[in-house]
Symmetry: C2
Subunit: 115 residues, 2 copies
DNA sequence: GTAAGGTCTGACAGCACTGTCAGGGTCAAG
DNA sequence: CTTGACCCTGACAGTGCTGTCAGACCTTAC
């Protein structure tokens, strides 16, 4: 399928589909006239990128992870560092939550001081 | 005092002190030769900016808030929205924490699926 | 008077995307 | 054959800071 249809089917903008490719996360076939031609495998990949992105991962991190999920549909193929990457991501999120919680405490303090 | 000393005393880089000024959060005197000349009031302001920034507020938001804390002015009239701004910020942080928590859940799911 | 160190302005770079526009090619239908 | 929808590449804008560099001026001390 062409890029517009894939965009419609996945909800990812055309702009971002091209960006995924520029960042090395997708490599669709090209038609004779240069149009990108995506297959079902690519569509699945895009859905995975979207899901991992929703989990707050950067495209760079997703790119590292992608080879581990490219093959088998339902589950991850265990790569050596897959667990480490995921665990690191969870730690990263925990750190961010902790930082935000501290900020919240500070602001709540200000708020109560003007009440 | 000059900008370098203020930087040393507050731990805010010279670059950022100038940036604060460009964004309208500071307006130090100038010497005859054009050097910025900060007084104790400015130093206090910088410390407040730093604290509010640590609470995750953008400079734009801090700028709105600053007139309310600039001097312990008994006049609250122009700061009727102080509490609202603070409350909004807390809500914003809560949203971000919620988003991160959802991301965490997704990632933890991935992690358990490869365990 | 000269050397060192501080300061000035202005501008470019980088993050991690995301939108948008320009200028031009392709394809299907009427 | 022309129209309209779609596609291509490339580039600029904007976020909210933050570092760094260039070229020039000021100040202090030796």
């Amino acid at each position: 399928m062409k890029i517009g249809e894939l965009s419609r089917r996945t909800g990812v903008s055309v702009r971002m589909l091209r960006y995924y490719e520029a960042e090395g996360l997708l490599a669709p076939q090209r038609t004779g006239s240069g149009y990108r031609d995506y297959g079902p495998a690519e569509e699945q990949t895009v859905r995975r990128i979207k899901m991992l992105g929703a989990a707050g991962m950067t495209l760079e991190t997703i790119q590292q992870l992608l080879p581990c999920v490219r093959n088998n549909d339902p589950e991850f193929t265990p790569c050596n560092n897959l667990r480490k990457i995921l665990a690191d991501q969870v730690s990263l999120i925990d750190e961010r939550i902790e930082t935000l919680s501290q900020s919240r405490t500070i602001l709540a303090g200000f708020l109560s001081s003007v009440t």
